[in-house]
Symmetry: D2
Subunit: 392 residues, 4 copies
């Protein structure tokens, strides 16, 4: 295998024409063309870049998608919504069309058996790797959020039980987990950018370890939760007692529409709530709303109100409003994760990489939620990777 | 000397009837009487308590003050303003009167020579220590903020030059520095809770080191700046570019009144601005206002607006409103600092204690401003103190 | 009957030991004792006082309540919660006890027949009027919000149908409507301070008119909705297009607890939503949350986010945070309404008084929601009342 | 003269390539081309349109400007700043160039005598009217804000004194007033969109009346002040006592740069402060900041914090954040004012038109600041205009 800093890396999106995937793709092409800088990319900070990461100009994009349309069209829509500079969408139109040709039909639940669907997905991944002569292909789930997985059906407990169920024509896998299964079966590391079950199902976690593949997740921490995990440690280390923490998230776009369904939102509100309790060490009162407000498009406005108590019982409060563009916040992190997970693979790591918890609301393999601690862990990991040297 | 956890500690306030000193005194008495808990006290968190700190029930309070009135009256006013529970002010009235009797007249600029004033202050400190059989007396400046010290007059450069100037009947010392001088001359460690020059004048810093005395400062970080030093690292480690950061602080009370004078405010705006640039690594545009709004009393409302840029140049923003009671936030930190500086003394430390930067806007002896890093440093220091053992 | 400005007025609270009733009672006693001013009382503004209103020192308080406890105890709790100055609760304790003796047991659904319950309530009202020699007794519903009334059961359509149903031992009346029925039967005007059905049921509206009694409602406009009805006309008259308006209300207290039940909240969210659409002339997207956050007590924090469009389609936004004490905002309006409804009675008005829409989220007898228009209507009504002269 | 609804109207901008003028021009052309709607235009609301206003498709644009560059270039910049949809700037480029050819060099203070400058400006105005066969030419000052005029120099007191001073080669007129002088001398009504002295100088006010010309001003009310004048009446009519009202305005752009100079800002802070006191009837504490934050471009973020008192002295607060695009808010009002002032001229009105106070922070000829009252006055005026008929 090549040196990590010259390696050819593939990124394979599940949900390849969604907002996040499209913004990532446009950004990658724009940076490569010298039309955009690295703002928002953690992997370009010296402490992280030190790990020896795959060069951006050798990353090839492909993916699965169930929706029609084209990347060029999606890019135009995103530029109308203020996510992407209009000029970029125009200039990159033909390159986007080239990527579009590498997008394969995604898996629609209920169409055919899960066994055959998984085989097809795995075949797509292998073909992509071969055709583009890639050292590594990282599968990134940026598709619509699914409902939480049912608690522990037998078929999802071990790789053996899973194989048996698939052989028997059963369909035990949540959609996102089917993609993770196919990825692991074809030797691809995985990034669970969404709160969907994906690789967290026990059978798949075991499979990844057995296959010697690293993965990272779940649910990228890009907005209100990000802020929470820097503010909560402030209250904790200052011995201030948080009495209630109320959160409202208003968002439009495809993600907003998906989360308007309470079943889907359940995954998200669960991962969003984890951090606060873990950091403060006690349950915290207060609502957590995610509301679909179509007019906001890909922009999110979150408002949080923290009521806390200080010396002698004095009640005080803090509130913040976050006005962010979710896809702009997510896209650079996708590139970071592709590079870091691919580096983890070259280092021979397997299973969840806890040091990538910095990127996630529900960090796989870790209980640490405070952003500063996650940052320290990430930087230390990168230093170790640097010491391990550039070859794999 | 006694074991650090049984030692009798004196706290000597400069500004002993101000809001912060009064709230601290009431709080100390209330905790001792079992009428209040430890919320807001960092030194009661296990990681800090581990250092082996002076027990609260052996702390004796005294101080200097230039204003008339009584502690009991000030406590009543603070309870009317929502800073202190009304019941406490009533129940503790007689104990407050006892403390009041230990408050001596402060130094008024221009009344007599600085030499004689310093001698008197030093004598008061020694008398306090003797009379109450104290192992250590920590002087804490919680008096009104002064203007910044003039840059480098010769008399303030070395202890020798300073002594010569005082002998010559000159008055080279800013008011806060006169107290620090007297403290160091009488063997007392010092806490610069305000942004006033205090012990930072080169001659005094040298004097403290020569006398083997530790000190900590400057300007306690209790509100908007506290939040800034947890949010700024978030932007930095996420590679988001802060384009402007605008800050407004509305406050009433004695502190607000003092800061309504632009000369005095200059000290504060200087220390408030330090952190952001240090953390982000570049100058940041945007106003920083401190406005006196009498009707707000001891409550402060701060509003900050951060404009930042993400991937592909997308502009986003975050704003927060902090509604805090300054004296409630400050008082527990005063108790923390008294215990920690007294512990530093028992450990034989001299000069500024950089690991106490956690408490300050302009940390003496340190360039670190990110709260989480300051916390790590503090906890590590406490662990070392624990290892050093409880006796001094 | 006496001159309106010397008349003896009774106010009879349904929910006499709730937060609103207690705050109103304390306030009335405090003003009378010269311990408080008139801030928040619309009826003391010259344009409204002009109507010739009942003097505050001749108002007698009584009521129904289903909860145990005492007014003095409730006042203490409210003073601990920052609603009432602590001194007031202490000073007025014995007067509150006197009022407490005039509070009768309220009607608990399911205990006995509605016919007998209504008879008992009516008897209580008559006894109160006689005993205290009152010219007028205004019944004010400040009890817990009920769910919306079922649409149009036959028994609630006409007074005759209602009487027949009651005679037949049926229980067709929502709790609040039972009180309104008893009020109208005993010659008392009514104020529907809550969103509960109360007098809005067709049979009761007809009964009031037949009995020559005025009433006012529904659901006092004290906080976020108040602000909405001044901001929405701004957007409308400036031809700015409101795209979405999202609202969050966080509140604790008894009211918050009641509204934590979605059935009860349905009444509230319905009345809260009316105004916006009526003013803007079109449906408006965006969530409307009412969340129970116990730690906030009687204080409410509401956050609204308005997304709007201007010239050439430019998207802009406005957000506001309202931090109010609901009972403090409500209590003076209760006194205003008692005086104004009693004046309406002395003027011989019957049925809903549309000019009192100024006070309500869902103005009975009116479609006008813009606060400024409601104010104009109220002032004009008061001028007419002034012209009509002080006698009835 | 033609019917008001078919008349050909000229709008002559002072500051014709500024943000407001450019946005207005682009908007007018876009509406005419069917590329944009009327959002933000008050004169398209039925109650105002009823007055019989000049058709948008017969408005011709010209103006004075001291800056180089072109309208097309400015439009591009504004579209990059999110003020104008990018497509519009492109599509309208050639039409903008046509307007550009009608822009004449503005008056630079100190270049030549004021007499000759005024003559040149007047000649430009007459040439514009003749060349384009215009029934009316409305001069609109949208140039950079000037400092307040010196109080009452003799030369500005009467038309005669002014003429004598100009004849004597003196330069008594503030820049904005020189344009107003030339406008009135050449029979053109005037709109003072800025807080600059303009037509408010006594000599010019007298001149306008003598010349039978109407004018309107000063300082368009588009953002934070607009909100203030709807919220303040709410507090007033609810008898709530405003204790302090603190205001911060952050803005970039040309206007922000001009207002970064405290002399220029003095005009603005004066007009911004008027309304609040007038509505509440008493002085109100609290700072009013206008800060230049270049990164915000043509977007303004204003934050206001209102501290108020309710029943029994309870302290409450409200805060709002306004995120608006100043030029988008201003441009439609410019078109409204051109049409309304031109209509005033056709009705034979002279001097300030108080009913246009709806549009201004410092309404000429009126003391009314509450937006709703101003709206009522405007609508009534339009109804009278409608009754007066369409011909002049
Ligand atoms: N943007 C952020 O800040 C952020 C942060 C954390 C998590 N996420 C998650 O990332 C995901 C993507 O967000 P988005 O804004 O791009 O949403 P989106 O709705 O724009 O895109 C999702 C895409 O997935 C596609 N898809 C759905 N089911 C699929 C399937 N079975 N196979 C293949 N493709 C499928 C959809 O057609 C759509 O194009 C969401 O789950 C979101 O919750 C985003
Ligand atoms: N409360 C906070 O959160 C906080 C945070 C950082 C810094 N501080 C600083 O702490 C100091 C105290 O704040 P406060 O709110 O108590 O102010 P305060 O005005 O209530 O108290 C200051 C006291 O100092 C006294 N004083 C003034 N000059 C003196 C002198 N020469 N000798 C002795 N006493 C003197 C005054 O009479 C007054 O009683 C201020 O400098 C403030 O800036 C406070
Ligand atoms: N405070 C405001 O700003 C405001 C504004 C609009 C409407 N309201 C409405 O006013 C009402 C009172 O609010 P609150 O904060 O005082 O609530 P609360 O819960 O403190 O008081 C309600 C009282 O009603 C009593 N009650 C319940 N059922 C009863 C019955 N059948 N008969 C007699 N008493 C009964 C309860 O025991 C309680 O004491 C609520 O419905 C609220 O929605 C309040
Ligand atoms: N945008 C709003 O919401 C709003 C509201 C109220 C008032 N205003 C006022 O409108 C004015 C214009 O605002 P803007 O944002 O367009 O500012 P801007 O700086 O973009 O434009 C002002 C223009 O005036 C030109 N100018 C300066 N001196 C001149 C002179 N002597 N003769 C001719 N032209 C001259 C400048 O070159 C510039 O092109 C400002 O005074 C502003 O305070 C704007
Ligand atoms: Na975890
Ligand atoms: Na109605």
């Amino acid at each position: 295998m090549s040196d990590s800093t010259t390696q050819r890396t593939g990124v394979w999106f599940v949900g390849a024409r969604g907002s996040v995937a499209t913004t990532t793709t446009v950004g990658l092409l724009a940076i490569r063309a010298g039309l955009a800088g690295h703002t928002g990319m953690v992997s370009e900070l010296p402490q992280v870049a030190a790990a020896g990461l795959a060069p951006l100009d050798r990353i090839v994009v492909g993916g699965h998608e169930v929706a029609d349309g084209s990347l060029a069209k999606r890019a135009e829509e995103l530029s109308a919504g203020g996510v992407i500079p209009p000029a970029l969408a125009q200039v990159l139109a033909s390159e986007l069309t080239a990527v579009d040709e590498r997008i394969r039909p995604g898996v629609v639940a209920g169409h055919g058996s899960q066994r055959s669907a998984a085989d097809r997905v795995a075949a797509d991944l292998r073909a992509f790797r071969t055709e583009h002569d890639l050292d590594s292909v990282v599968v990134v789930d940026v598709s619509s959020t699914e409902p939480p997985a049912p608690e522990g059906p037998a078929a999802l407990r071990t790789p053996e039980a899973l194989e048996a169920a698939l052989d028997a024509g059963e369909a035990p896998l949540p959609g996102s987990s089917l993609y993770a299964y196919a990825a692991f079966r074809s030797g691809c590391p995985f990034v669970a950018f969404t709160p969907s079950p994906g690789p967290r199902v026990p059978a798949l976690a075991a499979l990844a370890t057995a296959a010697g593949l690293p993965w990272a997740g779940s649910d990228a921490k890009t907005g209100e939760t990000l802020v929470k995990t820097v503010l909560a440690p402030m209250f904790a280390t200052r011995a201030l007692k948080v009495r209630s923490w109320s959160s409202v998230n208003l968002l439009g776009g495809g993600d907003g529409q998906t989360l308007a369904d309470p079943d889907n939102a359940a995954s998200k509100t669960a991962t969003k709530a984890h951090g606060l309790e873990a950091i403060l060490g006690h349950a915290v009162d207060g609502p957590l709303h995610i509301d679909f407000v179509p007019d906001l498009g890909d922009w999110k406005t979150a408002w949080d109100m923290v009521s806390f108590e200080g010396f002698l019982g004095t009640r005080m409060s803090m509130q913040f409003t976050w006005s962010g563009c979710d896809s702009s916040l997510a896209a650079p992190l996708v590139l970071d994760l592709v590079r870091l997970v691919s580096r983890a693979q070259s280092l021979g790591l397997r299973g969840p990489v806890p040091e990538l918890g910095f990127f996630f609301k529900d960090p796989a393999g870790s209980d640490v939620h405070a952003l500063s601690s996650q940052w320290e862990a990430l930087v230390a990991w990168c230093a170790r990777a640097a010491a391990a040297g550039g070859s794999a």
